[in-house]
Symmetry: C2
Subunit: 418 residues, 2 copies
C-alpha cells in the first residue's frame, strides 16, 4: 500500500516568522524518497487547544502523522501530552531515558545543576518506540494507534535531521515491503530549462524509476529514483536510464552521488597532487571562500589575491599598466595575465584569473553587468571563458565561480576547457 | 478588533521537500508586526480538491486568509479558481493586466513569443483589489466575502516579498484603527543570551511596546514594537524604552533601523574618505566576499590577500619567515604584521589582518579551533583582538569577520578598539 503522511510543526516562533519551517522540508524530502505521499503540512503554536484541533484534522486524512517540535522541558511544550490525549495513551516516566538526560547534562555542562523540569522529557507514551537524540536531550518516539502511525521529533533542525537519518528512515522503511533507492546526477554548464529540454521526453515517459531536476546556485541536479523489492532490483530498473542520461549529457555530468562542485575539484587536486592559486576581481573573494569552506583544503590551495582595484592588480600581481589601459580591466588579456601572474607568484600548478562586472551598474567603459572573463593557466595551458551571465549581482558572482571550478575540473579530467 | 489570519502555501514542490516555505515566514513576520494573530500555516499541493479542503478549514477559523503560490500560467496553478469557487466569485478577464503581462514579456524576452497561456494570469475575481507584481508577471489580488478578507500572493519568494512590502502592508494597515511601528536595534559583540540576561527584567515587564531579541549569523537584533492610534503616539511609547536599551548596551549598538554590519562599515568608510585593505588567512576570503556583496564598494575597498599558506604570507605580504617561526602562523604578531603589510602594500588607510584556526582540526602546533587573532593597523594605531570563538567552522569564520568589521566601526566612530 501507499501511505499518506501529514507533517505538523509545533512552535509559536514559526507563526511569528522568527524561524523558517526547515524541519518540514527535511521530513518531506525523506518521505518523498521513501515513496510516502505528503498531502499537507500544518504549523500550529504552543497551544494545547489548537494543537489538538490540528491533530484531529490530520487523523482524519493521513495514515502517518509526524510532528516536529514541542518536546522540550518547559510548560509550553505540549506535543506529547496532546497526542497522548487524542490517541488515548498514558505518559509513563522512563528511568533509562531520565538517566541519559542526566548524563548528557553532566557531560556538556559539568558546572551546572540540571533544572528538574528536564526530566519531563523522560515521560513517554506507553508502549512507544524510543528514538534516541544523538545531539540533544529530548528523545523522539513513535507509536501505533487506531491503525495510524504517530511519530514525534524534536524541533531544533540539527536534532531533527539526525533523528530522521538514524531512527525515522529505518522505522518507516519497515512499514513498506518496497524499497526506494536513488542516484543524484550532478550537472554543471547547463541551465535547468536546457537540461529539461534535452530530457523531457525521457522524464515524461518514466513512471518507475522517476527522473526529476532540481536547480540550486547555478547548478542542476537530476534525481533518479526507483521503488522495488530489493536494492538490486531497484538498481536494475535504474541502470538503463542512467546510461541514457550519461549518453545525453556526457561530460556536463561532474559526478554521480557526489559532493558539491568545490569538493569534487578539491578531491581531484588532491588525487593529482596539483596546487591552486587564484586572482579574483568581480567575485571579490567568493571563489576563495567556497574553497576554504572545505576543511583541510590548505593541502592544495595556496592563496588568493582579491584584486578589486587597478592598484591591487599592478601591485600584487605585477600586471603592467599598459595591458590594462589597452584592453581594459575587464578583458580576456587581463584575466589571462591575472591567472599567469598569481600562479607564478605563489608557485602553484594552476592559476585562475577572474575579471568582470557583477553589477548592478555598468563600469566606466560601458561594459554591461554579466560580462565576465575567467582564465586558467598552467605551465603548458592557457584558456579563457567569456560567458554572458544573467540576473543579479549574486547570481553573476556565483556563476562566475562555477565556471572557474568547472574549468579546473575539466583540466584535471583531460576534457577540453571551453 | 484583533484579526486572526491563516497562511496557505500552495505548491507540490513544498510537499516534496524541494523548497522551504520561506513565503510563510515572510508573511508571518509582516502580520506579527501589524499585530495580526497567526494561528495556523497550511501547505497544500497543486490539487483543486485538497486545496478546497484547506480553504474551507481556514474559512472556519480565520478572518484573513493569505495564500502564496499557484498563480502561474499553467493548468496546475489552481489558487484563483479554488478561492473563487469557495467564495462564490466569478473570474473576469482584465485587459489592463493582460497588457502589462504582454509588455513585461516584450521587455524581458524580446526574441520570444509569449505563450498564450500566460494570459490566464489576467483572469481575476470580480471586484478584487489588484496587487501589482513589481518583479514578475502574475499579479496578486484581494477581495472581501462573507466578512473574510482573502489575499493571494505569488509563490516565488522575491515576488512575494516585494508584494508584501508594496501592496499587502498598506492594505492590511487600513483594516485596523491601530498602527504598529517598530525600531530595530542592531548589536555586535554580545551574544543572544548575554543580551537577554542584561534586559530580561525590562523585556518581561513590557506589554506595549514589546521588546524581543533575534539572533542571526553571530549578531543580535532587538525589535521594539508599539501599537497606537498614530505614529507619533507609538513613538512616544517607544522613546523611554529605547533610551533604557541605549543606556544598558551603550556602544555595543552599532545602529538603529540600519542595514547590515558590512553596510554600516562601508558607509562609515565613505563618510570619512578612508580606504581598506585586507589580509585574511583562516577566514579564506569571507571578509572580502561580505564587503564585495555591496555594489559600489570599490570606492573604499582596494583589495585583499587570502594568505592561506606560509608561502602566500611571505610572498604576497613580505612577512619575514623569522616572525612566523618564532611566534607561529597563528599569533598576535603575525596578525599585526599582516595588517600592516597589506595596508602599506596597497596604500590603504586601514589594514586588517586575520589569522586563526577555523577547525575542525587543530593546527600542527596544537592550537585549538576557535583560536583567532584579528588585527587592525592605521598610520597611527595598531590593535589586536584575540576572542575565543566557538561552535563549528562556519560560525568561527563568521564571528572572526564580525570582529574585524566591529573593529573598523569602532575606529571610525572614535571608540576603543578592544
Amino acid at each position: 500500500m501507499t501511505y499518506t503522511a501529514e507533517i505538523i510543526a509545533v512552535g509559536t516562533e514559526l507563526l511569528l516568522g522568527g524561524t523558517v519551517n526547515s524541519d518540514a522540508q527535511d521530513v518531506s524530502r525523506l518521505l518523498s524518497e521513501l515513496g510516502i505521499n505528503v498531502f499537507f503540512h500544518t504549523v500550529v503554536g504552543d497551544n494545547p487547544e489548537r494543537m489538538k484541533q490540528a491533530v484531529e484534522i490530520a487523523k482524519g486524512r493521513a495514515d502517518i502523522i509526524i510532528t516536529t517540535g514541542g518536546l522540550g522541558p518547559t510548560f509550553d511544550d505540549v506535543t506529547k501530552q496532546t497526542l497522548a490525549e487524542v490517541f488515548g495513551k498514558k505518559l509513563i516516566f522512563n528511568e533509562d531515558v531520565a538517566e541519559k538526560i542526566r548524563s548528557f547534562f553532566t557531560m556538556r555542562l559539568p558546572n551546572m545543576d540540571m533544572p528538574e523540569n528536564n526530566l519531563r522529557q523522560a515521560e513517554l507514551p506507553e508502549g512507544c518506540t524510543i528514538f534516541e537524540n544523538a545531539v540533544g536531550t529530548a528523545p523522539g518516539c513513535a507509536f501505533e494507534s487506531d491503525g495510524k502511525h504517530i511519530l514525534m521529533l524534536p524541533g531544533p533542525p540539527r536534532e531533527c535531521r539526525e533523528m530522521l537519518k538514524n531512527c525515522v528512515d529505518p522505522y518507516l522503511r519497515k512499514l513498506s515491503d518496497a524499497q526506494i533507492h536513488s542516484h543524484n546526477i550532478h550537472i554543471i554548464g547547463l541551465g535547468e530549462s536546457a537540461v529539461e529540454d534535452k530530457l523531457r521526453p525521457l522524464m515524461e515517459s518514466l513512471n518507475n524509476p522517476t527522473l526529476a531536476p532540481y536547480a540550486k546556485d547555478g547548478e542542476v541536479m537530476l534525481r533518479l529514483t526507483a521503488k522495488a523489492k530489493s536494492k538490486e532490483l531497484a538498481e536494475e530498473l535504474m541502470a538503463p536510464i542512467l546510461e541514457k542520461v550519461k549518453d545525453t549529457l556526457g561530460d556536463l555530468i561532474y559526478g554521480i552521488d557526489t559532493d558539491s562542485l568545490e569538493n569534487t575539484v578539491v578531491s581531484l587536486l588532491r588525487e593529482k597532487g596539483y596546487t591552486l592559486a587564484i586572482a579574483e576581481s568581480c567575485t571579490g573573494g567568493l571563489l576563495s571562500k567556497r574553497l576554504t569552506d572545505i576543511p583541510g583544503v590548505s593541502e592544495v590551495y595556496i592563496g588568493s589575491v582579491v584584486a578589486y582595484s587597478e592598484q591591487s592588480k599592478t601591485e600584487l600581481l605585477s600586471i603592467e599598466r599598459d595591458i590594462i589601459s589597452i584592453h581594459g580591466e575587464v578583458s580576456e588579456e587581463v584575466a589571462i595575465t591575472m591567472a599567469k601572474g598569481v600562479r607564478k607568484r605563489l608557485g602553484a600548478t594552476i592559476g585562475i584569473g577572474i575579471t568582470g562586472i557583477a553589477g548592478p551598474e555598468s563600469d566606466k567603459s560601458g561594459k554591461e553587468p554579466g560580462t565576465v572573463f575567467i582564465a586558467l593557466s598552467t605551465k603548458d595551458t592557457v584558456a579563457c571563458r567569456a560567458p554572458k551571465l544573467f540576473f543579479d549581482r549574486e547570481r553573476i558572482r556565483i556563476s562566475a565561480t562555477n565556471n572557474a571550478l568547472d574549468m579546473i575540473r575539466r583540466l584535471l579530467t583531460d576534457l577540453p576547457l571551453e
